[in-house]
């Protein structure tokens, strides 16, 4: 008897356990089975639903006309069931109020209407809207209900309507070539290779006009740095700023400046000798400090090796020219600290910089540049500054942007606040705008450094 009880207990337990372990989905009703077949007849374009042509009819008279066809044909349904007269009357009140719109969507590969729904205006953006009646998802059923002529009118959109079709603005970083035309910092990636099938080595030509960290943005400098860059991506990514390391080497050349009239009465910084430029940047701190991933270390410097002769400047009268011959910058920047949604990802940075300042006398009668401050030693011509930056950057989507706010303070009391912003549409066309405001300028500095800097450049990027 006891054995029987145990056996019964085991059977009961098995039934309970197996019931929960092997629970079947509720079997479909005949209606649901046929509905599934109905829904499966068309070529499935589910993946394109968000790209299909979508619009809303809000013309109250047209909405009434269409709604009335549904009433006449007794085609209003709620939960698959016919509506009662009371239900129809209740819903018609919304039509009288003009608060109902028709939400429509076309098929992807042809022009037929695959989705039609009466929706209260305030429910249009709801995730699960309270429809006035069940949506019609078959163009031929809709045509059957409202008639071929009215269907054709709706389909061809010959009336007032609001277009809600989504446009695709995909941006992906390509590695075949990358032409980034920005007068302030252009680059042309012209060669690439891979060593593991996942990584990328890129060779580029680059240009650089001005130094933000020295509060010397482009236009205000008479020299342009051009050179070549090697960039390494550990694995290919859609975000071009996520390289592992980037080495740059270049030289400084004289540059022209647009809108010369803006600079009247102020000296432009000139290159006064052949200069070499180097920059190394990378997400390399993680190899030194555990957990320091995403901390980019940037080190860059320029060194001028000789002094030009006076004839390089073709002086017509005696004058003074200014020059920043050497500088060095060390910066640490942490990217992707936090995501602020559509505003982008937060990043902060900071560092120290040092730069010298030379004044030379040039004269048509002398073949050499004369250093006005020759009594100062090499080191004493340097001034040092600290800077901090915080910014937001966003890649992908329709609009990409990068905005950085910068504060800088140097050892001689000069400080500056700057905003550097880049905005691009589809990662192809954009604008680079940099504004800096200086404070605490002393009289000699004012000869070559203005209070306010405004520089900009259009951007064109072609990347495949």
């Amino acid at each position: 008897m006891r054995k029987i009880n145990i056996l019964l207990g085991m059977v009961t337990a098995f039934v309970f356990i197996s019931g929960s372990l092997f629970a079947q989905e509720k079997p479909m009703t005949d209606y649901e089975k046929v509905q599934a077949i109905y829904n499966s007849l068309e070529y499935n374009t589910l993946a394109f639903n968000d790209l299909k042509q979508k619009w809303v009819i809000s013309d109250p008279l047209l909405v009434r006309e269409v709604y009335n066809r549904f009433v006449v044909r007794d085609a209003l349904r709620h939960g698959g069931n016919k509506m009662t007269l009371a239900q129809v009357k209740e819903r018609t009140e919304s039509i009288y109020n003009g608060s109902v719109v028709i939400d429509l969507r076309k098929r992807y590969y042809d022009d037929e209407i695959e989705y039609f729904a009466f929706v209260p205006e305030d429910q249009l953006q709801a995730e699960n809207p309270n429809f006035l009646a069940d949506p019609v998802k078959d163009p031929f059923l809709l045509q059957d209900i409202i008639g071929a002529k009215l269907y054709e009118k709706i389909r061809t959109q010959g009336y007032f309507y609001s277009n809600l079709t989504k446009s695709v603005y995909d941006t992906k970083n390509g590695y075949f070539y990358d032409v980034y035309l920005n007068a302030l910092e252009p680059h042309v990636m012209y060669w690439n290779t891979t060593s593991s099938g996942r990584n990328k080595y890129l060779l580029s030509l680059f240009g650089k006009w001005g130094e933000d960290q020295l509060t010397l943005p482009g236009w205000y400098s008479g020299e342009y740095i051009v050179g070549t860059a090697l960039t390494y991506y550990q694995s290919i990514t859609s975000d071009p700023s996520k390289y592992l390391y980037d080495f740059r080497a270049g030289i400084a050349v004289k540059s022209g400046r647009p809108f010369l009239s803006d600079f009247k009465g102020r000296q432009i910084l000139q290159p006064t000798g052949q200069a070499a430029y180097f920059r190394a940047s990378g997400d390399v701190l993680k190899y030194i400090i555990s957990g320091a991933e995403g901390y980019y270390l940037n080190v860059e410097f320029k060194y001028t090796v000789n002094v030009y002769s006076a004839k390089e400047f073709k002086p017509e009268f005696q004058d003074t020219i200014s020059s920043v011959r050497n500088f060095g910058i060390v910066e640490i920047r942490k990217k992707d600290i936090a995501s602020l949604g559509d505003f982008g990802n937060l990043e902060v940075g900071g560092g120290i910089a040092t730069s010298d300042y030379y004044r030379y006398l040039i004269s048509p009668t002398s073949s050499k540049l004369t250093d006005i401050d020759s009594k100062k030693g090499f080191v004493s011509k340097f001034r040092h500054n600290v800077f901090v930056e915080a910014g937001l950057s966003r890649t992908g989507g329709l609009i990409q942007h990068q905005v950085n706010f910068q504060l800088s303070y140097d050892t001689e009391g000069f400080s500056s606040f700057g905003v550097m912003g880049k905005v691009m549409l589809s990662d192809q066309l954009g604008l680079d705008l940099r504004v800096m405001q200086g404070f605490g300028l002393d009289t000699p500095t004012k000869r070559w450094r203005p209070d306010t800097y405004i520089v900009f450049s259009p951007i064109l990027r072609i990347n495949y």
């Binding site: 209606y31 829904n39 042809d110 031929f140 809108f259 495949y464």
Partner: protein
């Protein structure tokens, strides 16, 4: 009495819907869709073999007061069983309807109204979806017979898709959103064939012979010519060679200087050779191409040259000297982009009695001339879609040109001094666009900036006569300097319009 009750029940049974009201309506909607939607239905059919028609397919009931139907085993009648093979949420094959197709060209065609010019077959819906749905319940053996035949076809033909009723063509309408850039010479060749003044070979199109054998078409064009008001090029078949071909040219344009054709007061003649280094000459899409022009510029120094009626230019202020030049294009050497190199250098022009006489800011009598010019660039190509209707090319590089000043006495009979007053490099960017719907070149445009001046060129296909004679309307515009002051030797820009004839391209 009982018999009457039974009769009443049967009668009521016929009058009531066979299925619940909602289901009945849904079945009608499925049938409506199957009848009306001619393009989007992702459904298939197989032909039911005549020799498989058995007793179970006789006297099949149909709904909506339609007479029962029996499948007929006749030579001129076929039955297409239409079914839904696979879909999300559908775990087994579903029969949708059966079409009966009668071939009227066979069988009974002797009557007075026998078809002669109209359709040769009649298609009627033997069983619709509602009938089949009902058949599954009331005559399962008939439904099973149809289903078995479909399953047999699929089982016995694993590599053959059943005939489809889908009329949209997703395979031919695949869209991409990021555009394309070819990894071989395709984009380069498309551009050069549409815009370049010299001929580029095309891949030979093989035509099928009478018995399907491939027959290579013989190139029937013996010469190629482009002729316009500002340039002329010519090549003959006899100038083709195993690795490419050659051609000659004569023109009035300056590649680097910001001058409208004729404004340089010089003519340039050239010999062009195209070398296609590939294992097979036909593989030009993948080969390494060297396109080189040897140029000779002859200075005419006559202001009247710039006064041709189709050139709207101010008086030229910059002379050019006699010079020789080389213009080379290399396609993707060592995986690099397309490389373009141009150099032109020579001697100073005749400075005695220059056609333009200027006074510089120091009040001296002067004239200006150019001797050398250089340009180097890399070309990048892309298309906005895989149809290659909108084609782009971007040239990025640098250009150089020198300007010399000759100083004179007031009589301009002899120089009293010369100096090099400009010898700088400038960044150069040129953006090209071609519109070629369906591969037919309709329009081309180019905008280039060098040394703060803009040079724009464009052409529009006007007509194409039988035999490949193409006429284009073309224009070139040079702007005055932008964002800087105009130099003494620079003009205010100008424009040239012309008609170009092309044959053999």
């Amino acid at each position: 009495m009982i018999q009457k009750i039974i009769q009443m029940v049967i009668l009521c049974g016929f009058l009531l819907p066979v299925f619940g009201q909602n289901l009945d309506e849904l079945l009608d909607q499925v049938d409506l869709k199957l009848r009306k939607d001619k393009r989007y239905l992702n459904i298939n059919y197989v032909v039911f073999p005549n020799n498989k028609i058995g007793e179970e397919l006789k006297n099949l009931p149909r709904l909506n007061y339609r007479e029962p139907i029996s499948f007929k085993a006749a030579d001129n009648i076929t039955y297409n069983i239409v079914f839904l093979k696979e879909a999300v949420g559908i775990d087994s094959l579903v029969l949708l309807y059966v079409d009966q197709i009668t071939d009227r060209s066979q069988g009974d065609n002797t009557g007075m109204f026998s078809a002669t010019g109209g359709p040769q077959s009649d298609t009627v819906k033997a069983l619709n979806f509602k009938d089949l749905y009902n058949l599954q319940r009331v005559r399962p053996e008939a439904y099973k017979a149809l289903l078995t035949e479909v399953n047999r076809f699929i089982r016995e033909n694993p590599d053959q898709q059943p005939s489809s009723l889908l009329k949209i063509l997703p395979d031919e309408d695949i869209k991409t959103s990021l555009g394309v850039a070819s990894r071989d010479n395709t984009d380069y060749l498309n551009y050069m064939r549409a815009n370049y003044m010299h001929w580029y070979p095309k891949a030979k199109v093989e035509k099928k012979g009478k018995r399907g054998a491939a027959v290579a078409t013989a190139d029937s064009i013996n010469y190629r010519i482009e002729a316009g008001f500002s340039r002329f090029t010519f090549s003959h078949r006899s100038m083709d060679f195993s690795l490419g071909g050659a051609s000659i040219e004569l023109g009035t344009s300056e590649k680097v200087l910001n001058l409208v054709p004729y404004q340089s007061m010089a003519v340039t003649g050239g010999f062009r050779t195209l070398v296609n280094i590939a294992q097979k000459k036909e593989d030009i899409d993948k080969s390494f191409i060297i396109d080189a022009r040897l140029l000779v510029r002859l200075s005419l120094n006559s202001e009247s040259m710039a006064k041709v009626p189709f050139a709207m230019v101010s008086s030229p202020k910059l002379m050019v000297g006699n010079a020789a030049g080389l213009d080379v294009t290399l396609t993707r050497p060592f995986g690099l982009p397309v490389i373009n190199l141009f150099v032109m250098t020579g001697s100073e022009p005749s400075l005695k009695n220059p056609p333009m006489r200027l006074v510089n800011k120091d009040g001296k009598y002067v004239a200006y001339y150019n001797i050398s010019s250089l340009e180097g660039s890399m070309s990048f190509f892309w298309n906005t879609s895989e149809t290659m209707t909108s084609r782009f090319r971007l040239d990025v590089g640098a250009g150089y040109y020198d300007v010399h000043e000759a100083q004179y006495t007031s009589a301009y009979s002899s120089t009293i001094g010369k100096s090099l007053i400009q010898d700088d490099f400038y960044p150069m960017i040129a953006l090209h666009f071609n519109f070629a719907p369906g591969g037919a070149d309709i329009f081309g445009a180019m905008i280039k900036t060098l040394d703060s001046q803009v040079k724009a060129e464009g052409w529009l296909k006007v007509m194409e006569l039988e035999g490949g004679h193409v006429f284009r309307f073309a224009a070139a515009i040079v702007s005055p300097p932008l964002a800087r002051e105009k130099r003494l030797w620079e003009s205010d820009g100008g424009a040239l319009v012309e008609v170009r004839y092309r044959y053999g391209f």
